[in-house]
Symmetry: D2
Subunit: 288 residues, 4 copies
């Protein structure tokens, strides 16, 4: 695997003739060697989506990158496209928010350590002290911000300050068991990923495994989605399910669900970090 | 495979010491050779479930069967258990109810012809004429009972008359697109199986694939359940899902869903025919 | 869904800078409105793959199509790419080869009738007479070409003559239980699809369900692949598996396997018909 | 969940009339309250399998347990059954053998810490020093036994000595990358679990992900099995697969495979610890 940094360009815009050719020509003129290219056209919505991962020959100095960004921006604006360009050597800074359940948090840290997640994780924030030892002895920073009665908003503001101080790009709710306020969520559009322990939209809200047990479903699921102001309603990024039977009581669902949650959240985070997700309306394109 | 008829005993009752031994002793005294035995205990509900499939040496005349039934009944009543006993040479009589979509109906008929479903299918009932040719040229009887404006209840009564005339034991809604009235459903408790084209409880009601598309889920499902007076709320028997992506528009979901629906409904019907299902409350034990 | 015919272009060639832009420019200059575009780069092999589905404004007469074909051909040859161009209103002609097991053959015919497979099926060929009634009463032509002792090659030649007479483009082995000779296979490179009832490369050869039962695997599978001279070794197009347990004897594996085989083969056929498959070496790119 | 210890009885023997009743009567006479009961009959082999989990009212002193064991043994021997009886408060002692890949080892330790695996893990043994820090800072003992050139057997003997000194009941090969000798394996029949990173019997031997990539399969798998003298040939306990495509190069298969391996091995270990597995010949019954 080359260690040379790649650029990742994502565009979304109205689908019109010539657009594909224009983007291709632009990248060619810029000397980009395309490594991966994924297109999608939502015929019904008349939208075009593209993700291109490319390398440039040799080193790409900061000035070159800025010039490139300018040229791409110019083309994209001509076509009235939303776009983003990121370099793989400018890793995303991630904060994990957690409560008491360790499995998602520790799993993400283990994947990070194993090199599976190309990001920095300068901060694990929690409203509980429980996971401090486990997190810190893996070498990560743990900040405990408890919620005092009646001052939930103040705690959110303290968390917000930590996120800003650490220049966080992505917040991952790794079984953070508090509902975040509309004010907290607003500035983080498409930059907060949550794991919900059900196959949404089934069993939104509290205690989904108990709900699933009571309803007698034969499969349980987990869903990772971007967080919006409407609880459990944001754009879905990844889902998976596993089979259960009458032999599985709630603790069995919880145990089986943990394995789902870990993998589903990890896949969503990986796709976000690799700029594979384009959200639009309440949906996502995931180029995986 | 032996062609000798088997007995299938299902029991459900309060879980108490001695119950398992008593049932085992009873079957032993009756000379039953146990072929399959499945137990389940719902610890929370304090309930015991058992399915035993057994053979008796040689022929079992009608009189013997009645005596056996009497003895089993006596034991089960001592323990205040619900029970059923069926012989595999007394096949269940099944009616399919359908509307216009052919896939579930024709799939069940093909499985029946292939010997996969141990039942008789003397009747396919429909509120539309569309599938008549396909059904009759496979050698099955098709009865068209249209719904005239304002006389839905009358049509149900005509259907009910057909079901009675044919001594139907099980009604399978193979994409029957009408909501059955409470009156129609009442006498058929745990004897009507439906296929709903979503992973219930997500996307209950009309046009689940459109709902799924709009919500942007990453998996679609199908659910077979017993029909109760509450639409899409009956005990779930079988569910499965398949992966979808942003590349799948509604027609793709419909196509992928058809394969799910067929297999999910067929599994539910097979389990019912083999007495593998014990429904209790709004849940099922499925000994598969 | 528009009924206007689409063009589908597939290309495969050495991955070089400018190639993507050149193909995009070509299609733009030709006035193509791109409906779907999928690229893939096999970095290790240095190969570029693309499938583009496009519409042209209004009618496209035969002469226009030829001119288009010429221009595309010219560009592709400059880049030394293998390519194909097909129009969706020139449906592929498919022959099914079958023996005695009906499930795959009848399933494909049912999908064809339901409009799920965009092709013509002018011919079902078999070395046995068993399925004649089922096939013909669905309105398809059935030709029985039995294999006499010692004259297997002669039977293949008779089959080959039927395929030629019917201008067949794709041969689907729907549980055809004879091994085809190297001579028969040779002219049909990447145009014969087989269904093998195991998860290849596990359990190649005869009686895979018995092999699976004996080995005690916990999942069984089915594999659809292009047929090459080496039995069960051709490029894999589609695979799927289902869970089994100690409770499943060989007949249960056969029953569960039938559902797999149907869906796996149907997906492979659909992908071939929609020009979604590009085979290279012993592998495939499947743009699904 | 009760903290009162349970007994778990497993029996396997020739299937004969009266056997089920005799076991049920025995447990009833002993005052056992049955919590779970699973039976299986392998009709072809004429074998009966049973797993019964039971509680006795109140405390069960050591002497009572011995008497119970004697009575069960007597009955089982009359029926010439292989049997085992274990108490859930006598946890199994597990050693992990590992090399350099951390994911399975650390995953099992995390599950152990989370209370998901009812066992003791007094020992992690490795032929490499790499994982020492990660293991020890989680509070587990790590012993490094390197393999010097030409003295592999000596290293095995040192490992064997550690296993004996720690009274190990179960050895888990958590990506231990050495082939164990026949002599090492012999005394551990059905007490060594391995994880192989393919869907066996496909891709046995070295580098299965590379083999899978070259063969172009569309699913990759993982298999946990008991280790016998024949490499990758022992009785399979658990398997699972995940979908891959042409977009997945070998490093993607490795990444996706890690998630499979973790879950497959953990399920196999859990089933062993809960006495859910009965191996016979080269197969297993897994009562899950």
């Amino acid at each position: 695997m080359s260690t040379q940094p790649h650029g990742v360009l994502r565009v979304i815009g109205s689908d019109r003739p010539g657009l594909v050719a224009d983007v291709a020509n632009l990248l060619f003129r810029l000397g980009a060697n395309i490594l991966h290219a994924d297109d999608h056209i939502d015929v019904e919505a008349g939208l075009f989506f593209q993700r291109v991962e490319f390398a440039l020959g040799g080193e790409v100095a900061g000035a070159d990158r800025e010039r490139l960004r300018g040229q791409i921006g110019q083309t994209c604006e001509q076509w009235k496209m939303r776009w983003s360009l990121r370099w793989t050597d400018a890793p995303i800074r991630v904060a994990l928010l957690t409560s008491k359940h360790p499995h998602c948090t520790l799993d993400l840290l283990a994947r990070h350590r194993a090199g599976e997640l190309a990001c920095e994780i300068p901060l694990v924030l929690s409203n509980h002290p429980d996971l401090e030892l486990e997190v810190t002895r893996r070498g990560y920073r743990y900040v405990h911000e408890p919620i005092q009665a009646g001052e939930k908003r103040a705690q959110e503001q303290r968390m917000q300050a930590h996120l800003e101080a650490e220049h966080i790009d992505l917040v991952v709710l790794a079984r953070y068991m508090q509902i975040l306020s509309r004010d907290f969520v607003a500035p983080w559009s498409e930059r907060i990923l949550n794991i919900h322990h059900s196959f949404l939209p089934a069993f939104a809200g509290a205690e989904p495994y108990k709900q699933a047990y009571r309803r007698g479903v034969k499969l349980i699921g987990a869903t990772s989605h971007y967080v919006t102001a409407d609880l459990d309603e944001g754009p879905i990024v990844w889902q998976d399910v596993t089979r259960v039977s009458h032999r599985d009581a709630v603790p069995d669902l919880v145990r089986k669900g943990r394995d789902l949650e870990r993998v589903v959240l990890a896949n969503a985070v990986r796709c976000h970090l690799e700029d594979r997700i384009i959200a639009y309306g309440n949906k996502t394109v995931v180029f995986d």
